[in-house]
Symmetry: C2
């Protein structure tokens, strides 16, 4: 009977984190553990790929199965994430040689990278080590981004939860505004993430149905901001409904591509004022319409809101982690488990292995048919797409009124190599 | 056998709404229905006391018991709220005469007003109608405010849920920041409500324990903002922990009482820029420390967040509604069911009837002993106080991934009087 040699694996988190990236980590780690005949130890990079370069490897075998299971309901990036993009192999060979040294020193032959489009590029470069530099390594990408802009996959793990958070928050805040509008706030603006594409703001459209229900206006980067048209629409809405709820992407821009948030605001010292499309819109409303307004900026709250995560999203995040390990064990390289929508209602999905070459550095924009004709809301096609992704409430456990989170040891493996500065 | 004559009742919502004000409405309405031998119909004022003045009375008997039950998990003010304060009986007798006309026309003898401190003043004035103007009416106040500043009661219904939302959101966002801080955002600022008192920001202190855990700084109106001290503390925290999470009340002010949000920001046209203590703090961080920052403004999201309401809060909001009706049936006038804390852990509470005269127009400030000595966090006494109020998750039911809310007919009773303009 032949015994297959066991190798170690490496996993890291990259880019902006999500409410469910740790659910993918959980899927990867638990699946590695189930295949202990093939995979010996899974090391997690401290702060993403940086941990591989600096040989800061967290020994996940030190973590209890309870702690790993708790990752499924813990937001943020449990092992640390990074914004760090590997340069080309041709011009920055030393970095890749260092990676190979670290992988060799720790007998790592499986590489799992959990990130979005930029990170897929890093994963793709790593996947070429084998062919270009002769080190036998399989690199699998684990999809993650709230931006929902990864190509090939029907949606990206991380998006469904932020979509749910934004839709729920919009519905709730709109009820608040509706009840006060006769003598108080008439216009409420919620700013959400989305610098390049309006996926997140569009999802807020689920909070109501049609033009009469809030949100009355959804403002997206895809639709050039026309101040006169938007102000007229707000005025009409207030006159008709008594109030107006607006959800705006941070990346709203005019026909010249100028971000609304860069509107030349300066502080008392003449320094330019710091972003926020919501206060800029509020200023316009005040100036042109004179309505009492309120505004909110969800910022990190939206992408960390594990307390109201979508069950579909958590399931998919976990599943792509599981499948990534299976891909590696099947001998695959340079792939990303992607989601295929099988049906809208009831929603059904399955995974397939998408080639990383067709994913890295490409952005999927929102289809125009997801928007209503006036550009201020979602169409029925958009509603079908988004509704599926926010289904189910994956509540975390609570203790003393607060969500419990994974408590990890994060024990670093003793380095075997000299230090390396990045 | 004598038959007691049945009278009608009036209920209205007043001031800023909360995630649980409708739970109080539910308590009032269900209890009136249980006492149909004494109370015939409960009318709800459309948009608070304004509905009484304009004779816009919603006939709650038209609503199904399912719709009324659903109020328990519906945020906002289901019948409309208002910011409208009755003037003195001495100077504005006509308004009170109108109220009496409306009450007489609709045989209303019980008056329930659901609001905070300002509204308690209105309720107190109404309670004097009987003695001052000879119309037999009993007025009972139903406590509600996210500001937690009502006197006599240990806490105000509405506060526990916003406290829970803020503590949960702070814990979640802090995990996000912690995981990215090596290469990205180092300072995160969450702005929460609280113009006069820091109850809400202080509750965010529950998210961590001690100075090493986020939130690292809680900034309150009660502690004069000292820019040099705050910046030094942020710098120390980033150097020690790698990142710094700050929760700031909108009402943070300096030693001269000047609000930080009024910092002289002007837009490109020279108009003064619109509030937001978070962007102002972010500007200081950028200018003095140069750290990458992010900021969020929770605004209405926090007081509408029924999806993560505290079970204790929902229970108390419902209970004060129930007790208000019982008070009326017991012949009481000018009282407010208030909460007495019986024990901290396990938390136990009971209701008592507090005299409205000692409540109207008085603000309860946060006790100094709830704060840590450095003023940037909560003490153990504060933790004991707040922890009790955020216990339990009162999840609403969901449909298609979104919380279900009460669907009401809001049928208005035919007016019997000539119009009245306010």
């Amino acid at each position: 009977m032949t015994q297959t040699k066991r190798y170690n694996a490496f996993y890291a988190q990259s880019g902006g984190v999500t409410a469910v990236i740790n659910a993918s980590a959980c899927g990867v780690i638990e699946t590695c553990r189930r295949h202990s005949d093939r995979i010996q130890t899974l090391y997690a990079g401290r702060n993403g790929i940086i941990g591989a370069l600096t040989e800061e490897l967290i020994d996940t075998s030190q973590e209890s199965s309870e702690a790993i299971a708790a990752l499924r309901h813990t937001p943020g990036g449990a092992f640390g994430s990074c914004r760090y993009k590997l340069k080309s192999i041709d011009t920055h060979r030393a970095q890749y040689e260092r990676l190979i040294e670290v992988f060799k020193a720790h007998d790592i032959r499986y590489f799992f990278y959990n990130g979005g489009g930029d990170s897929a590029d890093t994963c793709l470069k790593i996947s070429q080590l084998s062919e270009r530099m002769g080190y036998p390594l399989q690199a699998i990408h684990v999809a993650k981004t709230i931006d929902n802009d990864l190509p090939l996959t029907d949606n990206s793990p991380g998006f469904g939860s932020v979509a749910k958070y934004v839709a729920v928050s919009t519905r709730e805040a709109a009820l608040d505004v509706a009840s006060m509008c006769s003598t108080s706030t008439k216009v409420f603006i919620l700013e959400v993430m989305g610098r390049h594409a309006g996926w997140i703001a569009a999802a807020a459209g689920l909070a109501g149905e049609g033009e009469e229900q809030p949100p009355h206006l959804v403002l997206l980067p895809e639709v050039a901001f026309d101040r006169a048209k938007v102000m007229a629409k707000i005025k009409q809405t207030v006159e008709r409904c008594g109030y107006c709820v607006i959800v705006a992407s941070e990346g709203v821009r005019d026909a010249e591509g100028k971000f609304l948030a860069d509107t030349g605001l300066v502080d008392a010292f003449g320094h330019s004022q710091l972003g926020g499309v919501a206060p800029v819109l509020a200023g316009m409303v005040k100036e042109e319409l004179g309505y009492k307004y309120h505004w909110a900026v969800a910022d990190y709250l939206q992408r960390a809101a594990r307390h109201i995560a979508s069950q579909v999203d958590v399931d998919q995040a976990y599943a792509v982690g599981v499948r990534a390990v299976e891909c590696a064990l099947e001998g695959k390289n340079a792939v990303m488990p992607a989601i295929r929508r099988v049906s809208d209602a009831p929603y059904a999905w399955e995974l397939f292995d998408a080639p990383l070459e067709e994913i890295a550095n490409r952005e999927k924009m929102m289809p125009a048919e997801y928007l209503r004709e006036d550009g201020f809301g979602i169409s029925e096609a958009g509603r079908r797409y988004f509704t599926a992704l926010i289904a189910g409430e994956a509540y975390p456990p609570y203790e003393n009124g607060l969500p419990k989170v994974a408590e990890l040891k994060r024990a670093l493996v003793a380095p075997k190599l000299p230090p390396f500065s990045i």
